[in-house]
């Protein structure tokens, strides 16, 4: 079990992801990008920060970079409409990886484990 920070603007998507991740036994804290105060967050309190790729007012890459600069060691992008370039772009920015959703619980668990091993 690990503690996850989920940054997402979509209430339904965050509701959905929170539900899925918590069903895997993780503790999930959700934030939307408008109310996100990265400076007030404690990077050590979270194992992985998951940032949605498609945000209303910003984009996931920028938020991910901000979090990374603030000391978050593991920052990953979550996308519900994946493309092959997402992985390349994430690597170029030095982020952890891309979590595809919706996906089977087994796959999500596997992807999270891989991220935690990094």
């Amino acid at each position: 079990m690990c503690t996850l920070l989920l940054v997402d603007d979509s209430p339904t998507q965050s509701c959905y992801l929170e539900f899925v991740l918590s069903s895997l036994g993780h503790e999930v804290h959700t934030q939307d990008s408008a109310n996100l105060q990265p400076e007030e967050l404690k990077p050590m309190a979270f194992d992985i920060a998951l940032v949605s790729l498609l945000l209303a007012n910003s984009n996931g890459f920028e938020i991910g970079l901000r979090l990374q600069n603030l000391g978050f060691e593991r920052v990953a992008i979550v996308t519900m409409s994946p493309r092959s370039t997402d992985v390349q772009w994430t690597k170029a920015l030095g982020l952890l990886g891309v979590l595809d959703a919706p996906n089977s619980l087994v796959n999500i668990r596997h992807q999270l484990q891989k991220m935690l091993q990094c």
């Binding site: 539900f19 899925v20 984009n59 170029a92």
Partner: protein
């Protein structure tokens, strides 16, 4: 000639004849229903009478009585005062039951299928009762539906049982006949159901008919008919298709339908349409010789249905999900028949369809069902979130549409539409509105298709989305039919609009952009952070600038090719600024972070936005700031790191001079030795050497007086870019023969008139983007400069693709050139543009 019929030898023959007659009756009945005429009734009566006789031979009294009643009903219907509508319904039902009862040759006549109710109704009808009996009749029809379904179910199951057992080619003909009977059962069911009520399970019937068609295709393989001649179907298809399809029909599709009691007029009319579509597929199978893809479509549909069944056997809603899959199948089928109406065919790639179906099933349903076992969604929260989401989407979309209308439509909604669709899809999924989920999924797919084909999505598409959202916002779940109709109507409009716009190709594909850029763009993305941390080191600035110039050059070219002009503009401006910074001797006086920080930050954001399928924001403000910095009198020289040739040449000159000085010193030292003969030869040698050195020096100096025109290229390009940015136009400057050498002063004196000429072209020659679009010109205008050597002077031919420039506008430039001994002529070539010639003598 009479035959003695015994059970051993004659019964199979007799049963085949009975079957044939039953099928003929059904076919004739169908023709009558489509086009009522007395002729059909006569044929019907005759055939039913024949069937009646044959049933007497078979020893089946019930069948005989049934056929007798049937024949009498036909007779009654021929009378002018008969109620045709009510009678035709009855006849349909009777025909169907007839076909069902005769569906199996091996097990004899299934007399129990001859439902008592229908029998009674036929009797009642023949009795010509009053309106009261019609009332009773309606009530009875409702009661009979369930039993009728069961009859069909049993008939199909029995037929299948024999098909599974008898797979030898010798009985293939019988199998084909059975399949035909089953098909006819389904078909008659649709006709029977007119005027009844049902719910939204219409699609199950579609699936069922398509599966039946696929089974028919499979059984036709062994029939050595036309289909088998046309396509080499694999053998496994025969067996597996037959088994799987009918097991599916038997176990999955029929059971939920049998359990459902409510009937609906619209549903049944939809069933009829579905059956017609299935028949269309049949026609295709028989008439078309390109069967492979269609077979694959059917396979995909079958597989999809099976998985669907496995995942959501509890919910009848699952049938709705197959709608779009079938639409694709039928669209493809139609496209085969009507190749000119190719717009009906949205998904021509069955493999993609298969992949999508499987992904959808595997990812969404499995996960959803797994999750549901462990925890139950709070439906209230989901609904709440759904409507919040919808409201947010609507506001964002309205804002975006307004912005698009105010600006231009060249950079359309890719990012925003993706975002909206994506959220919309998730929202629909959360509230278990699978029809809506699937609809949005298809919208997204169409959108992706449009992007892949570089189709410019038109305004209708944008107008369609709010319409879809407003439809989805209707909270009433009872009006599903209305919603589906609205959706289908909207999709038709969308297809047409896509077709209409398919020829236009001016769309940004952010995917290709990201592919292109993500290769080696890391330098640019990390530059803002490096700039913040290491801005004090001048050495870092020069090195970073050199690296950035390379990346920015590549980026601007790539972005320009992909029509992402905002990124291209910004990268060009940044590249010029970096070049200028490299040329500044003292970097300490320039506040580099303040100058470059916003530009690079915006560039990084723009690149990230493009990668995240979002619209790139306006960059004009930052670009203007960079140009303003460049305009404040920076030296127009090549950057330090590019001046290797000049430095080498100066080093060479210095070495020559040092050598010359050395020679003179040697002369001075040997002054007193002139008288000596031995030294004379040495002196002569030194003088010869000095002469040659002087000659070389003279040549070097001559060369230094000439400059190549390429030296002023960046200055001219910067000027054009700055002016174009101010005028909100997009212009590209091309120079040809720029490596020619001219006297330095000639090039310097030509700069001001050339800039004036370029300014006039930009202001008056190049049209605004909207006008260029109307005139079908490229979005980016091109100014071309051809440099030529004319005697000792220079001649520059400037051409553009804009509109005609007034002669008055160039008069000041002409005066200016006259004053320095030059000349300017202008000529306008219709449909091509302006041609200006600037000549300056030495």
């Amino acid at each position: 000639m009479t035959h003695i019929l015994t059970e051993e030898n004659a019964l199979p023959v007799l049963l085949r004849q009975l079957q044939k007659l039953a099928v003929d009756i059904c076919t004739e009945l169908e023709q009558y229903l489509q086009k009522p005429s007395k002729h059909h009734l006569i044929v019907l009566r005759a055939k039913s009478q024949r069937l009646c006789c044959l049933s007497a031979f078979a020893g089946n009294k019930r069948l005989k009585a049934f056929c007798k009643q049937f024949a009498r009903c036909c007779e009654l219907l021929m009378q002018p005062e008969a109620d045709e509508k009510a009678a035709s319904k009855l006849l349909m039902k009777a025909g169907l039951i007839l076909a069902a009862s005769l569906s199996h040759p091996a097990y004899g006549l299934q007399v129990q299928y001859l439902a008592e109710e229908i029998f009674d109704l036929l009797r009642a009808f023949r009795g010509g009762n009053s309106d009261d009996s019609i009332e009773v009749q309606n009530i009875k029809i409702r009661a009979v539906a369930k039993q009728f379904w069961r009859c069909l179910h049993r008939a199909a199951a029995k037929a299948l049982g024999s098909m599974r057992k008898d797979l030898e080619p010798s009985v293939a003909r019988e199998m084909s006949a059975q399949t035909r009977v089953v098909l006819l059962c389904f078909e008659r069911f649709a006709n029977y159901s007119l005027g009844k009520t049902w719910d939204d399970n219409t699609l199950a019937i579609k699936l069922l008919t398509v599966e039946a068609v696929s089974a028919r295709l499979a059984s036709s393989k062994g029939n050595s008919g036309e289909i088998s001649k046309l396509t080499p179907l694999p053998m496994y298809w025969h067996k597996s298709a037959t088994d799987d399809v009918f097991l599916l029909i038997q176990q999955r599709l029929f059971s939920p339908l049998l359990a459902n009691d409510s009937l609906d007029v619209q549903f049944l009319s939809k069933i009829e349409r579905a059956v017609q579509e299935a028949l269309l597929v049949c026609q295709i199978l028989e008439a078309n010789n390109n069967l492979r893809q269609l077979v694959h479509f059917l396979q995909v549909t079958r597989r999809y249905v099976r998985r669907l069944q496995c995942c959501s056997a509890k919910s009848p809603k699952a049938f709705l999900l197959s709608l779009q899959c079938l639409i694709a199948t039928y669209s493809f089928a139609r496209a085969l028949i009507y190749p000119d109406k190719s717009f009906l065919c949205l998904s021509t790639n069955p493999f993609a369809l298969e992949k999508q179906c499987e992904t959808f099933i595997r990812a969404n349903y499995e996960q959803y069902n797994e999750a549901r076992k462990e925890r139950v969604f709070d439906e209230g929260i989901c609904q709440d979130a759904f409507y919040k989401e919808i409201c947010a989407i609507k506001i964002t979309l309205a804002d975006y549409v307004r912005r698009v209308k105010n600006q231009n439509e060249k950079l359309l909604a890719e990012s925003l539409v993706f975002w909206i669709l994506h959220r919309f899809k998730v929202a629909a999924f959360c509230v278990e509105d699978y029809a809506l989920f699937e609809t949005v999924w298809w919208v997204q797919r169409i959108y992706g298709l449009a992007i892949e084909q570089k189709v410019l999505l038109c305004k209708q598409f944008l107008a369609l989305l709010p319409e879809l959202i407003s439809i989805a916002q209707e909270p009433s779940r009872t009006e599903k039919q209305h919603r589906h109709d609205c959706f289908s109507h909207a999709f038709e409009k969308l297809e047409l609009s896509l077709l209409f716009r398919s020829s236009m190709s001016n769309f940004v594909s952010s995917e290709s952009l990201a592919n292109f850029l993500s290769e080696n763009i890391k330098e640019l993305i990390t530059y803002p952070d490096q700039l913040r941390s290491m801005h004090a080191a001048a050495r870092f600035q020069v090195d970073a600038s050199r690296r950035c110039i390379v990346e920015l050059n590549m980026l601007s070219a790539g972005a320009r090719d992909l029509n992402v002009d905002r990124v291209a503009d910004l990268s060009e401006a940044l590249e010029q600024t970096h070049s200028a910074l490299c040329a500044i001797p003292d970097l300490a006086n320039v506040d580099v972070p303040t100058l470059l920080g916003p530009g690079h930050q915006l560039l990084r954001e723009s690149l990230n936005r493009a990668a995240a399928r979002q619209q790139v924001e306006d960059v004009r403000g930052v670009v203007a700031g960079l140009y303003a910095f460049l305009e404040r009198g920076l030296p127009v020289v090549a950057p330090k790191w590019r001046r290797r040739g000049l430095r080498q040449r100066s080093r060479k000159l210095v070495a020559h001079l040092q050598s010359n000085v050395g020679t003179v010193e040697t002369l001075l030292q040997t002054k007193g030795l002139r008288s000596g003969e031995g030294k004379h030869a040495h002196l002569e040698h030194l003088i010869i050497e000095q002469r040659s050195l002087l000659q070389q020096l003279q040549e070097e100096l001559d060369e230094a007086r000439l400059v190549r025109f390429v030296r002023v290229r960046s200055r001219l390009q910067r000027f054009v870019a700055r002016q174009a940015n101010a005028l909100a136009k997009q212009v590209r400057l091309q120079l040809h023969n720029e490596s020619l050498q001219f006297k330095r002063e000639i090039v310097a004196s030509l700069m001001v008139p050339l800039q004036q000429v370029l300014r006039i072209i930009l202001e008056q020659g190049i049209e605004d983007e909207s006008i260029r679009r109307l005139r079908l010109k490229p979005k980016i205008a091109v100014i071309s400069m051809q440099i030529r050597q004319q005697k000792a002077g220079i001649c520059v031919d400037v051409s553009d693709d804009g509109q005609e420039i007034a002669l008055v506008a160039i008069e000041p430039v002409q005066h200016l050139l006259h004053a320095i001994g030059g000349e300017l002529t202008i000529k306008y070539v219709p449909l091509q543009g302006n041609r200006l010639k600037v000549v300056l003598a030495s």
